[in-house]
């Protein structure tokens, strides 16, 4: 589904990604862990096409297409979803209008008719229940005045609406208390199928108690320096990132 080969990316003059390789197949859950500043969020942003970053080398194919040649909106239409670490507040844009535009743009891309108002509202209602998102929030402006937990639930709600092939969850656990974490992770698990895949980016092992990964990768200084199964996450939790640094001879 996703092949990342030797991906390099800069912000301004500073190189953040220094040759990332990663392959994700349908049905898989990959966790990407690593200390602060290792490039985890940059990887997520670059894959989603954030214009703040410049790709300086490497290639990414996504479902047979050259991902890096697509605009952010077309990456979304092709089925790539990013759950933001810091969801943006957009006063004056209502959640309903935002989601209707997003869903119908996706349908347009696929040559489908726009959803009728009734169908759209029914789907909104169904998907809201997956993350127990209050109807009141759905009628407000996008993320405006939402608590940290509500923002993250809202991300997963949008993921449910758009039914992506590949979801990248960037630090979805940050700022969540244990109850919210359970709801959010529960939502992700409900949306899991054999056809879609998830990349979970996290600093802590905690989230992986709820969303079980098939593979765990350690990103450090812009490269994936270690990959393994779920046990790697536990090892990291026990030994800390210093252990990786020592292994690398630092």
């Amino acid at each position: 589904m996703l092949q990342v080969k030797d991906l390099h990316a800069n912000i301004g003059e500073k190189e953040i990604l220094k040759g990332v390789n990663l392959t994700v197949k349908p049905g898989e859950v990959h966790a990407i862990m690593g200390p602060n500043g290792s490039g985890k969020s940059t990887l997520a942003s670059v894959l989603a096409g954030n214009p703040v970053f410049t790709v300086t080398g490497g290639s990414v194919t996504f479902c047979g297409k050259e991902l890096l040649e697509l605009s952010p909106e077309d990456r979304s239409h092709e089925g790539l979803f990013l759950s933001f670490q810091y969801p943006v507040e957009i006063p004056g844009v209502s959640m309903v209008n935002f989601m209707r535009a997003a869903v119908n743009e996706q349908r347009k891309y696929r040559g489908e008719e726009p959803l009728s108002a009734t169908d759209f509202l029914r789907i909104m209602r169904e998907k809201r229940e997956i993350v127990e998102l209050d109807n009141k929030l759905a009628s407000r402006s996008v993320n405006e005045g939402f608590s940290g937990g509500e923002k993250k639930r809202n991300e997963i709600f949008q993921m449910a609406m758009l039914q992506p092939k590949l979801s990248i969850l960037d630090e979805t656990d940050s700022g969540l208390d244990i109850d919210a974490l359970r709801v959010v992770a529960g939502g992700v698990n409900k949306l899991k199928t054999e056809q879609n895949a998830t990349i979970v980016i996290t600093h802590y092992q905690r989230l992986l108690d709820y969303i079980a990964p098939d593979y765990v990768h350690v990103l450090y200084k812009g490269r994936i320096v270690k990959s393994g199964g779920p046990e790697l996450a536990l090892e990291l939790e026990e030994k800390g990132y210093d252990w990786i640094k020592r292994e690398l001879g630092e």
């Binding site: 214009p51 909106e73 979304s76 957009i90 004056g92 935002f98 997003a102 743009e105």
Partner: protein, 442 residues
């Protein structure tokens, strides 16, 4: 001074003609206005208050003025302008001649001054030019010196205007002309009035429309004044609005510029009675070489008043917008609450935005704040929308409409709010200048 000179000449040569075409209350104010204009003239761009617009350039062309009061025929059919879903009583001001055809609201008096001064001479004398005469702005004095007729809206004590009044200002000139319009609104004690001004200019030639509006909001009155400017690129407009608010009077003044040429708007609001409340809200969308220059002066002379100003601009191309907003709180005006905010979005490198808040506070125990922002659309919000599949142009549109939305939220007249929302969208999408609700725009 060259610009001033031709008007001084005009006043010297034609004062009798001007007076003959006018009526007593207006002629009574004229001599002092002429003297004031001789003293101050057309303001130069060197003056602090006029730095961002060239008023002398605006007044320089050799405009024709209809001093002989040749009536232009206008029927509602020719110039009809309407807001879908909003029932209004309409007055057309063609050039600077008010044409009053219908008057369904019987308790409210809507007349031109020549008729009004016969029926209500004391009211005319008591209110006409009483605020404007305090101004030291030469453009205001010149309007008083040249204006020959005024539209008067008089809402007596205790009367509520049942149907909103729509005043459609129309200019359709084939040669350069100057029109001098005058509007007097008197809202008596415990009265209410909703007034919508639609400013249209169909002229393809250079024109100058000057306007002086005076609003007297007496005790416990509620006045809503909306203004939609939808004029041609060759239109110059210099408009001054004066309002005084007595105790517990509520006033909304909301000018929206959808399309214009170059406009200078002054708002002088005096909060003279305890507990008065002001909402002064504006939006301008400017592109190409358009100029929208706003000056506000909110004077708190009484205690327990609240003023709220919010002006927003969306500019692109070489457009220039500016807002200079002064809030003056007198020594006795304790418990004043005053908020002023100016927010701007620039869509191009070559557009210019000037913003200058000025606060002068002489009272203790007040809550006053001001703020200004100038920037581009929020890149992180733009990326967020695009990540969800909304194309870049559509995402930009959503953010611009969202930016305008809190201005719309302050417009109480719901059909107007809905109408404006769609007009703003059309304007931003197509650069369209047509509001298409009226015969004029078809």
């Amino acid at each position: 001074m060259a610009a001033s000179e031709q008007y001084i000449q005009l006043l010297e040569n034609h004062l009798d003609l001007i007076k003959r075409g006018s009526v007593e209350p207006m002629n009574n104010a004229r001599a002092a206005a002429v003297a004031l204009f001789r003293k101050y003239g057309i303001p130069s761009q060197k003056e602090e208050m006029f730095r961002h617009i060239d008023i002398e350039k605006i007044y320089s062309p050799d405009y024709g003025i209809n001093l002989a009061r040749v009536a232009q025929s206008a029927t509602n059919e020719v110039y009809r302008c309407s807001v879908p879903g909003l029932k209004t009583q309409s007055i057309y001001v063609v050039g600077d001649i008010p044409q009053i055809c219908e008057q369904p609201d019987e308790d409210v008096v809507i007349m031109n001054m020549s008729k009004f001064e016969k029926h209500y001479p004391q009211i005319a004398e008591k209110y006409y030019n009483k605020q404007a005469s305090q101004s030291l702005d030469g453009t205001v004095a010149l309007n008083t010196a040249l204006a020959q007729d005024a539209l008067v809206v008089y809402v007596p004590d205790g009367v509520s205007m049942k149907t909103p009044l729509q005043i459609v200002n129309v200019l359709n000139a084939t040669a350069p002309v100057m029109v001098n319009r005058r509007l007097l609104i008197v809202a008596g004690k415990n009265s209410s009035a909703t007034i919508l001004i639609c400013e249209h200019n169909l002229s393809e030639t250079q024109t100058l429309a000057t306007q002086v509006t005076e609003i007297f909001a007496e005790e416990n009155s509620n006045v809503e004044y909306y203004e939609i400017e939808e004029t041609a690129s060759s239109s110059y407009r210099v408009a001054s609005l004066f309002a005084s608010q007595e105790a517990n009077a509520n006033l909304i003044v909301a000018p929206i510029t959808l399309h214009n040429g170059e406009t200078r708007s002054n708002y002088h609001i005096a909060m003279e009675g305890k507990g008065a409340n002001l909402n002064l809200t504006g939006l301008a969308i400017c592109d190409e070489n358009q100029v929208a220059d706003v000056y506000t002066n909110v004077h708190h002379t009484s205690s327990h008043c609240e003023s709220n100003q919010l002006f927003k601009n969306i500019v692109s191309d070489q457009a220039v917008v500016s807002m200079t907003g002064k809030v003056l709180v007198d020594e006795g005006a304790v418990k004043t609450i005053s908020q002023q905010s100016n927010k701007n979005i620039s869509m191009s490198q070559s557009a210019r935005i000037y913003t200058e808040p000025q606060l002068e506070i002489y009272a203790d125990d007040v809550k006053c704040g001001h703020g200004a922002t100038v920037g581009q659309l929020d890149e992180s919000a733009l990326f967020y929308l695009r990540q969800r599949g909304i194309p870049k142009e559509e995402a930009r549109m959503m953010l611009m409409l969202a930016f305008a939305d809190d201005i719309l939220q302050r417009i109480k007249l719901e059909p107007l709010r809905d109408r404006l929302r769609s007009l703003i969208e059309t304007r931003l999408r197509k650069g369209d200048t047509k509001c298409s609700g009226c015969t004029m725009c078809k």
